[in-house]
Amino acid sequence: MTAENRSADLGLDVGGRPGGGWGPSAEGAGPWRLGLRRMRRNPVALAFGALFLVLVGACVAAPVWADEIAGTGPFENHLSDTVVVDGETTNVVGFDGVPIGPTYQGEFFLGADSNGRDIMVRLLYGGRNSLMIGVVAALITTFVSIFLGLLAGYFRGSVDWVISRALDVMWSFPVIILGVALGVSLQLGGLKLGPIEIEGGSLAIPTLVIGLVYVPYMARPLRGQVLSLREKDFVEAARAQGAGPVRIMFSEILPNLASTILVFGALLVANAVLLEAALSFLGAGVQPPEPSWGNMIREGVNRIASAPHLAIAPGVMLTLTVLSLNVFGDGVRDALDPRAKIRVEH
């Protein structure tokens, strides 16, 4: 029963104080507490959330693995070096150009790539880049979408028309096409916007591009919610008290969007990480030698016949990360907004 009351609570929860709603929910518990309770009863979602944290932790600790265990950095070549495996001395990169496979020991734990670089070290450093891009891009999407959704939904009229048509136009491009088009054109000479200068190979470019292309997917539903929220009595009450548009948008309406924004959060990061991989795979994302899971897969796919481990390792990491975020995100959605129909294309 309480699950069905959730969306009704959205409108009644004056000011959106977490846990402070006086809507018709059971035992007087607010929507947030109910959500938390439902989340706690979903061990699978929690386990995958924990898995995501473990993966993030491993990537954050990349320098520790590099310095203490592998003894090499993500950019160091070992083309002419040898490594001792099971008491035998082996070339890191064979004379036929085939790199060593997984050794499952400190050095070259997952083998080497064709430049003799340690895959495990690059995997962890690449994960840093991939995850950083995913999280920052999701934050960009969220902030821009909230801003546009609030403006369009609150002011309606011509502001809404301009924003909605702009989103329509962006919506007409598949995310990969728009991402690649923007990524490539920005790479050609970097970005110069007044005092801001970004170089062509910078990680900021894919981050910005991915952050922008997902905006229509989030801004549109938010706008719809704002359109209906602005007609509610509590907004009318705030207006009667003399609150201006900015105050109403940010302290009256925004808190009521929180559950939608949270539900989007995990799924946005998952899709942003996947899109980074796709863009890098096509050469429009992270530029080598900077590692990312996407461009490691790109290199691996090119050499899959002789060294399949190059493609398998980053792909497994990527899949695990996205899977953990998807399962966790599903759990958050079920807990907070079971009827939300949220969908992000990839």
Binding site: V180, V322, E345
Partner: protein, 315 residues
């Protein structure tokens, strides 16, 4: 109805125009480098660069360049900046390949998602349902180019069960055509099978509790008839809409990655190759073509919807 169609078409023309302007701007204003210098290559003399600039019209004003580019796009005179091959010609060669891939995959994911989603809903909460849910989530989480590459390597190259990439024309040998496309279809479908089967499962579970389903059971219809005629039919409506829209997205999105991995040489791979060489005209043309295709598809879906449901026309 006529007014609705007219209004919708006017909106479409506006979006198409905006799409073309945006695409043009992305490739002609954002890049912070001189296309003539890029095309002339290293160690080109000043006069060569000047000549290229004049020949391609890079010295003209932006609106002029926009008009020339659009003229070339619509008359099919656009040329690659590197190979000088006609872009329209190259795209035309790729279209049957891309459509073969997308249509086949769309049928495959719909059929499999129907079967799996229905099965999952009927066995809701049981082990097989949970197992399928996990599989679906894994399918949604894997990048298509990675799955494709692994399939092509292990099933195609190592085991030799399937051809290792390539494409055979349908007219030449329909069986061989399908045989070459099975792996690409599967790779491209996985994501959608996962997604659609879950949507269908939840739709079916919602519908199963409707009064008319209880009525159907009460009047003694067989379980099979109730499921197919009453439940499935009503659960399908949202999925069919999604299907139309996703088909457009696949032609423009997933197909690029799948074609590149399997070497299908369709429009998507042409686009990918254009990116690798930073060759603007092909990338611009394909981007515009796909955006146009999607806008057109959306308009058709909207009009079809309005024809089916008169309430929509009033909005």
């Amino acid at each position: 109805m006529a007014r609705f169609v007219l209004r919708r078409l006017a909106g479409m023309v506006f979006v198409l125009f905006a799409v073309s302007v945006l695409t043009f701007l992305i490739f002609n204003v954002i890049p912070n480098s001189d296309p003539a210098v890029r095309m002339a290559g290293r160690q080109a003399s000043e006069s060569t660069i000047e000549a290229i600039r004049a020949e391609w019209g890079f010295d003209k004003s932006l609106p002029e360049q926009y008009v020339t580019t659009m003229k070339k796009v619509f008359t099919g005179d656009l040329e690659s900046q590197f190979t000088r091959l006609n872009v329209g010609e190259e795209i035309r060669k790729g279209i049957p390949r891309t459509l073969s891939l997308a249509v086949g995959a769309a049928i495959m994911w719909m059929v499999l998602a129907l079967a799996l989603g229905l099965f999952s809903a009927v066995r809701a909460g049981k082990f097989s349902d949970r197992f399928l849910t996990i599989l679906a989530l894994i399918g949604i989480s894997m990048p298509v180019f990675w799955v494709g590459a692994l399939m092509s390597h292990y099933l195609g190259f190592k085991l030799g069960l399937f051809p290792n990439g390539g494409y055979v024309e349908f007219a030449k040998d329909p069986l061989d055509w399908a045989y070459h496309l099975i792996l690409p279809w599967t790779a491209l479908s996985l994501l959608f099978i996962g997604f659609y089967s879950r949507v269908l499962r939840s739709n079916v579970l919602d519908t199963i509790n409707e009064d008319y389903v209880r009525t159907a059971r009460a009047k003694g219809l067989s379980e099979r008839r109730v499921m197919v005629r009453h439940v499935l039919r009503n659960s399908l409506i949202p999925i069919v809409t999604l299907w139309g829209l996703d088909f457009g997205a696949v032609v423009g999105g997933g197909a690029i990655l799948t074609e590149t991995v399997f070497g299908i040489q369709g429009v998507g791979q042409y686009f990918g190759d254009g990116i690798a060489q930073l060759d603007v005209p092909p990338v611009l043309a394909v981007t515009m073509l796909i955006a146009f295709f999607i806008v057109l598809l959306n308009t058709i879906v909207d009009i079809a919807y309005a024809a089916l449901d008169p309430r929509i026309r009033l909005q």
